[in-house]
């Protein structure tokens, strides 16, 4: 049972009218103050505990989180007069997180100037933390602007299901990691669906109660994926972990250590380094668990935002669509920098829609959130600026066309705010981190693509999302193989590369792996229904449903006079701007590959999720009597199909990493202990023998094993059959050994192909074999 922190009812009452000047003021009697010495002393003991680096399991993590996050969040929530009906804890937490990043950056910048080589060492951090926490505790003494009352939470059904979902999801992930089946993981996701079902069926609910259940459900979904694997698992997160290690091992964040846009994200460098110092967790658990926790607040804030804009039920529906969208559970746990950036981005929108706040304060708060986005993730920042720019252009255009003032008091679309954010972005990515080169390249490529000056890639995600003419894997592979063969002809003629038969030069494409049909799936097969096709259709229907509802929601926004009250004024422009920015990202060549349309769609749902729900309700309303059934059925199908439960129950479909130990992401990102053992052996051999030849492997295996091969020269360009050299070392990863196929990136996507293992066997010596990995030379 956990403590619930909530404000008392009395604090929700409207502020009393101002007292006339001539009225004699009677000072309220002060309550007897409790001495502050004890809490401050307790705090200092906790800080000393962290400084002493005492490794007491669980206790150290809890104490570290308490002094770094909980105390400042509590103090800020209680002592700042937030005048927010529902989101003061979110603001306080966001401010704390921003404070951690900025304070870390400050120490990192200032201390080296006075000769401190390890500015992120515990001593400096603890001194700052103790000072800030003590100052916050002493600030206003015991007088809390909005007092916090501690009481036991109501153990309602949704909360109980949520707690159960988290426990089962964690157990499911651990079982899968241990080689057991995915049944428990599936049950975890079904329980998450149960949480949303209970919330939606309730006739009423408080923001606190709903938010608690939504948070638990989101946590279960995230942990189900993030906890897969005993090592750092997933795309992006492996490189994120690498830049974190650079900063944390040196206890000094420096761009010169790795001049890359990843290293410019404080969310994966300074923030985790400070968190690791306080909690003592600096292994994969930091990224798998602790850094997932802030993102839990994002669906909660999407709910709070939706509640403001469109009402409770639609807000909850919007959250269901938000977390059902596959990127949420498939990819977000592997994008820690973007998780943190989304937290700040949602705070920006939440602050901008805070009705009780003065416009100037709303803009200031939104600006602070914007700074958090800038420091956390470059691409989210660019998309934010693109969106605000489109919105501002739209606002100005409407004002120009109508030739009269449109009654909109811009907060986010304020030219001043946009200008400040743009300048801050430029300052961060150019003079400070020099990490903006990549963005410039993408813009140039996009421009060249649009003007036809150069051929630019388009992401195949677009084909999947919008289902337009798909190029087959074999066509894509043939084109790639022909390019490689042409580029390597000379190498074969000179004898540098292996001579190959024609069939090895043009390998066969292999379809994506699918799970075998389950007993339920076989029962369907017996009556003539292909379970794989059915799951595919359901997934497609779920994806199209979200798109359709979004379009209906936008139509309501554009055409219907009685649109939801929250979507008046600036929100109307912003909604269309978000949609416009999504369109730009989808259609502009280059950007869709760099950023990924699915991630862009997830980001747009931060804002548009309530609108999707509006579309859903309107579409269901057209069905009149069947409306409730239609809404419930469509939402349930959408959830079960998109999070992978339907596929796991029926089989015949591509398995998901959270639910099975097979499939696309498992092949590409899942690090097995046997692979780590092989990488360690190779590193040892390279070190002992002084080998300088690049170790060849497929790019995904090299990326996966990068942390374990840091001292080994590697190349992904000598593994495709046509690129095999006469002399050299070749490491064959687990999916190739197990299934006989390898993967290669082609334009905008990756393709599986049959790998000629026999050719390796006859041309090289197999000097290492552990059943999962083979090493040839």
């Amino acid at each position: 049972m956990t403590l619930l922190l909530d404000r008392p009812e009395v604090a929700r009452r409207p502020a009393p009218p101002p007292v006339p000047a001539e009225t004699p003021v009677t000072r309220p009697r002060h309550r007897r103050r409790r001495p502050l010495a004890y809490p401050v002393a307790l705090l200092l003991v906790a800080e000393a505990f962290v400084l002493a680096d005492l490794d007491v399991p669980v206790v150290r993590v809890l104490v570290g989180l308490a002094v770094l996050v909980a105390v400042p969040t509590w103090q800020l929530a209680a002592k700042v007069a937030w005048r927010s009906d529902d989101a003061r804890w979110c603001y306080a937490f966001g401010l704390t997180l921003l404070g951690v990043m900025v304070a870390g950056l400050g120490l990192n910048t200032v201390l080296p100037l006075v000769g401190v080589e390890r500015p992120l060492a515990p001593l400096g951090l603890v001194i700052v933390s103790a000072t800030v926490n003590t100052a916050l505790m002493l600030w206003r003494g015991q007088q809390e602007a909005e007092p916090v009352v501690v009481r036991w939470p109501a153990l309602d059904l949704a909360t109980l299901l949520g707690i159960l979902a988290v426990l089962v999801a964690v157990g499911g992930a651990v079982r899968l990691n241990n080689g057991a089946g995915g049944g428990m993981a599936v049950i975890g996701l079904v329980l998450v669906g149960g949480v949303f079902a209970v919330l939606l069926l309730r006739t009423a609910g408080t923001p606190g109660g709903d938010a608690r259940a939504v948070g638990l459900a989101a946590l279960a979904l995230l942990l189900a994926t993030s906890l897969r694997g005993w090592y750092v698992t997933g795309h992006d997160v492996q490189k994120e972990y690498f830049v974190f290690r650079l900063a944390h091992d040196a206890l000094h964040w420096r761009m010169e250590a790795f001049q890359d846009a990843y290293n410019a994200c404080l969310s994966i460098t300074v923030l985790p380094s400070v968190l690791a110092t306080f909690t003592g967790v600096d292994g994969p658990g930091l990224f798998k668990v602790l850094l997932q926790l802030p993102f839990v607040l994002v669906p909660v804030m999407v709910y709070l935002l939706g509640r403001r804009l469109a009402g409770r039920r639609r807000a909850l529906l919007g959250v269901v669509f938000f977390v059902s969208f596959p990127t949420f559970s498939n990819d977000m746990p592997f994008l820690v920098r973007q998780e943190v950036a989304f937290l700040f981005l949602t705070l920006v929108v939440l602050a901008a829609t805070e009705r009780n706040w003065d416009p100037r304060w709303r803009r200031t708060a939104a600006g602070l959130g914007g700074v958090g986005v800038i420091l956390s993730h470059y691409a989210t920042t660019y998309v934010l600026l693109l969106t605000l720019g489109i919105g501002l252009a739209g606002l100005l255009a409407v004002r120009l066309v109508r030739r009269r003032a449109v009654v909109v008091r811009p907060i986010l679309l304020s030219p001043l705010l946009i200008g400040v954010l743009a300048v801050a972005t430029w300052t961060w990515v150019n003079p400070i981190t020099s990490s903006g080169g990549h963005a410039g390249q993408v813009i140039l490529q996009t421009w060249q693509g649009l003007t036809g000056a150069a051929e630019t890639q388009v992401s195949t995600d677009l084909e999947h999302v919008f289902s337009f003419g798909q190029v087959s894997d074999q066509e894509r592979l043939d084109e790639y193989a022909a390019d490689v063969a042409a580029a390597t002809d000379e190498g074969r003629e000179t004898g540098y590369l292996l001579p190959l038969p024609d069939d090895a030069l043009a390998p066969e494409a292999v379809p994506d792996p699918v799970a075998p049909p389950t007993p339920l799936g076989r029962a369907l097969e017996a009556v003539g229904v292909d379970p794989g096709a059915l799951v595919g259709d359901l997934r497609g229907a779920g994806a199209r449903m979200i798109q359709l509802f979004l379009l209906v929601g936008l139509a309501v926004l554009l055409l219907r006079r009685r649109r939801p009250a929250g979507y008046e004024g600036e929100m109307w422009f912003l909604s269309l701007a978000v949609f416009g920015a999504l369109g730009v990202q989808a259609l502009a060549p280059g950007i869709s590959v760099e950023y990924g349309i699915l991630r862009a769609f997830q980001q747009s749902l931060l804002f548009l999720a309530p609108l999707v729900a509006v579309g859903c309700v309107v579409a269901a309303g057209l069905l009149r009597r069947a409306a409730t059934v239609a809404v419930a059925g469509s939402v349930a199908v959408c959830y079960l199909a998109l999070v992978g439960v339907a596929g796991a129950l029926l089989g015949g479909a591509p398995p998901k990493l959270a639910l099975a130990s097979e499939g696309d992401y498992h092949d590409i990102y899942y690090v097995r202990p046997a692979e780590v053992a092989a990488a360690a052996w190779v590193a040892r051999e390279y070190g002992q023998q002084g080998i300088t030849t690049d170790l060849a492997s497929d790019p995904y295996t090299l990326a996966r094993l990068f942390p374990f091969l840091r001292d080994v020269p590697t190349t992904p360009d000598a593994f495709f059959p046509a690129q095999l050299r006469h002399n050299g070392w070749v490491l064959v990863g687990s999916s190739t050994v197990e299934h006989g196929y390898a993967m290669t990136p082609t334009e905008g996507d990756r393709v599986r192909y049959e790998y000629p293992l026999d050719l390796l066997g006859t041309s090289f010596d197999r000097v290492y074999d552990n059943g999962d990995v083979e090493v040839y030379r």
Binding site: A180, W681, R777
Partner: protein
Amino acid sequence: MSARRRTLSLLDERRDFSVHAVVGLLVLAGMLAGLAWQSEGVRHQVALTMSRQPESFLVLDFPGIDAERSCAVQEGFVAVRFSAVAHGDRAGSVGYQVEVRPEGTARNVTRVAGTVQLADGRPVVLEKRLPVPETAFDVAVSVLDGTEELLVHCQGELS
């Protein structure tokens, strides 16, 4: 109260499951778990769910430059030196064989088989001497109850 109303009441956020009920439920669950704990199968499933289990695999490798040495013919013999290490359930007695296969033919293969006791995570270096043909040949080292296999292509007396 109708069934529908009862259901909705159960869903209500104000429906607070009392601490006593939850504690009672937990005690009951604890007792059942205690009974189930007597079963080894249950204990295994709990371990699978709550903690990291060691992964089982077996490694064969030619340490150092022993792959090249395996081709070095002396007085008509090669000394094949390789290493084996087992993890998890693969630890224990492991059967292996070393073969010398003349290139291009399945005949005249010489092999020597044996067993070795492998402790979890501890490498063992083994060496076997086998006669070789005068032609090019392959040296293969494999385990008898697994797929792991080392393979070296040798040029015969020239190497």
